[in-house]
């Protein structure tokens, strides 16, 4: 694998992957929780783009509408409902974060460089690289993986009951 014949597609992909790592670091290190939630939404959006480039169109749309939309709304409402009430709380929470800004990116860069060196010497002949996709996506989702669809229905029902249990205020006796 040589570096001389990298196409522009691949450059775009590498940049996007870099973007997702950076926005994930931002989501995890930023002090203000609202900004962290927005960084998480940006991470989901970049993941959507990655999936789109990899030809996973359905999953990309799902990820965009559900993760970037719904989960961000859940996070922002949770953050709004749990704001610290006193000023001391706010200050205390902010003090411990300084270390993380430096430590995490350094570790990440070290790991990334070592993995790059590792992969240039690796061969993956155990991987199944020559499959053929015989069935269309709709067939696979609705016929082969029908049991998963049933599972989805059941877990959505569980989620509905969970929301009822957790978010409903107790009736005053």
């Amino acid at each position: 694998m040589s570096f001389s014949d990298i196409t522009s597609d691949q450059v775009v992909m590498i940049l996007v992957l870099l973007g997702i790592v950076i926005s994930a670091v931002v989501a995890v290190t930023v002090r203000d929780l609202l900004k962290a939630a927005i960084a998480l939404a940006v991470t989901s959006a970049i993941l959507t783009v990655i999936m789109f480039i990899m030809n996973a169109f359905m999953a990309a749309v799902f990820e965009l509408s559900v993760c970037t939309g719904l989960i961000t709304v859940v996070f922002i409402s949770a953050i709004s409902l749990t704001r610290p009430k006193t000023k001391e709380e706010n200050v205390k929470i902010e003090k411990h974060k300084l270390r993380r800004f430096v430590l995490l990116p350094v570790i990440l860069i070290v790991v990334a460089v070592s993995l790059v060196l590792l992969f240039s010497k690796l061969n993956i002949n155990w991987a199944v690289l020559t499959g053929t996709s015989t069935e269309s996506f709709a067939d696979i989702l609705w016929k082969v993986r029908q049991i998963d669809v049933l599972g989805q229905i059941i877990i959505i029902l569980a989620g509905v009951f969970g929301v009822i249990v957790l978010f409903k205020e107790r009736d005053v006796k």
């Binding site: 991987a127 993986r145 049991i147 599972g151 059941i154 877990i155 009951f161 249990v165």
Partner: protein
């Protein structure tokens, strides 16, 4: 036909919630109870081959393929039994409105049924996650402080386990190309002893994920906290069946179908099993809380089941599955007793309890039956299953494991004796003069479970012949 186990609770749940609020609340208990009884009956019919499980009721409408061997049919029966017990305990001992509990327990039922019947690794994950998410919700049903904390810990551990399992699944897609049990079995059988590194890593990660979700050693940290802080009926359900199906039965599935009973993994399982047996028993002895002692004792008993699976011979697997059923019956009975004691006396601390046998005869008597079965005293059921596991270990020339198992039986006897003496015999605790026996529903449940334990124990020789006729040995 097997699809009924999933479709019936689902349509029942949807129909129940379409009724008007009053009608729904009134009939939720009866509905759920009916569904669980029908699950037990159906699994018995399928098990005794009176109904053909491959009968296709839905034609080409559903293309879902589910499988069941005789062991998984026994699992389905056990799931129905313990869920029905938890339902009745919930009716008698839950404070306030029980409607959400009745609905959620149907969802756990569907989740566990799915786990036993699918034949695909990712679907296994989906149904495991259904069971886990519903357990989180059930633990925080009353939003008490401890419950929220315990459930959150469980949630984080479960999420870590999810990440491990899904990474393993993606590695398996990369190397094997498919997630079906049979395909992976063929792949492993074809490559024999020289599996490529990613496949080994994938299996290790998957099994670790399962162990975390199940609370097996050494990942048992979240288990006692989550059990203690849950409402009583929920802890009956969790300890009685959920943790075992999620952890132990999936281990059996993975070991048989995927590893193709490889000897190396078998040895690892045996080591973990013995570890759990001994350490669970040692940790149980020093406990001061009734339910916490039972939780650590569960860890110990599950070790026996893992040991049986690790042995790998048909006799070992039979012992493991049989001990699974026995543990479900006696541990559920013990937890129901603990619930009864807690409800009537208001405490679970062993130092404060005492002499309750005179005041609560049914609870005391049935707990003696459960404890004798747990300690492996003949002729109760627990004795047979432990004996089979020890014989299987001996036959497979694993003498050291057999000796450890025998020694740990003595430990089990020790802590259960302590439990019995402290709670039910000895002097009556202070302030317990007014304690009465618990409500009728719980009494009936206790008697039913105790009679199952005694019945299976006495009738075991006939059961053994029946199992031989099924060709499992």
């Amino acid at each position: 036909m097997l699809l009924l186990f999933l479709i019936v609770p689902l349509t029942g749940l949807i129909l129940l919630n379409l009724l008007s609020k009053k009608a729904a609340q009134g009939s939720a208990f009866g509905f759920a109870f009916l569904i669980m009884i029908s699950q037990m009956v159906l699994s018995l019919l399928i098990g005794s081959s009176m109904l053909n499980k491959d009968m296709d009721l839905f034609g080409s409408f559903f293309l879902i393929k589910l499988t069941a061997n005789p062991y998984s049919v026994l699992m389905l029966f056990t799931i129905g039994l313990v869920s029905a017990v938890a339902l009745v305990v919930g009716k008698c001992s839950n404070e306030g409105d029980n409607y959400k509990f009745n609905n959620l327990i149907l969802i756990v039922l569907m989740g566990m049924n799915g786990v036993v019947m699918v034949n695909d690794l990712f679907s296994l994950y989906v149904f495991l996650e259904i069971t886990a998410v519903t357990s989180f919700i059930l633990i925080v049903l009353y939003k008490k402080r401890n419950a929220l904390e315990g459930s959150f810990k469980y949630l984080i551990m479960s999420a870590i386990a999810t990440v491990l399992m899904l990474m393993a699944i993606s590695l398996i897609i990369l190397t094997v190309g498919s997630l079906n049990y049979s395909d992976i079995n063929l792949y492993v059988a074809k490559l024999g002893g020289s599996l490529p590194f990613p496949v080994m890593a994938a299996f290790v990660m998957f099994v670790s994920g399962l162990s975390i979700k199940a609370g097996l050693m050494p990942f048992h940290g979240w288990l006692p906290d989550a059990y203690m802080s849950a409402p009583s009926s929920v802890s009956v359900l969790l300890a009685g069946i959920v943790t075992k199906i999620v952890g132990v039965y999936t281990m059996l599935i993975v070991f048989q179908n995927v590893f193709a009973s490889d000897k190396r993994f078998g040895t690892i399982l045996m080591i973990f099993g013995c570890f759990s047996i001994v350490f669970g028993a040692i940790l149980a002895i020093g406990q001061k809380d009734f339910k916490r002692m039972l939780a650590y004792s569960s860890i110990s008993q599950v070790g026996y089941i893992i040991l049986g699976i690790g042995i790998g011979t048909p006799l070992g697997i039979l012992g493991a599955v049989f001990h699974f059923f026995n543990h479900a019956s006696f541990k559920t009975l013990l937890f129901v007793n603990a619930t009864a004691v807690e409800k009537q006396t208001g405490t679970r601390q062993l130092d404060k309890l005492g002499g309750l046998a005179s005041k609560m005869p049914v609870t005391g008597g049935t707990s003696v039956v459960a404890f004798l079965s747990a300690a492996g005293i003949p002729p109760l059921a627990g004795f047979w299953s432990k004996l089979i596991i020890i014989i299987a270990a001996w036959q497979a020339l694993e003498y050291s494991f057999a000796i450890i198992a025998i020694f740990a039986s003595v430990l089990t006897l020790a802590y259960f004796l302590v439990l019995q003496r402290r709670v039910f015999f000895g002097e009556l605790g202070e302030g317990f003069q007014e304690v009465k026996e618990v409500c009728a529903g719980i009494k009936v449940v206790e008697i039913v479970l105790a009679s199952i334990i005694v019945g299976v124990g006495i009738l075991f020789p006939f059961i053994f012949d029946f199992i031989k006729s099924l060709g499992l040995l």
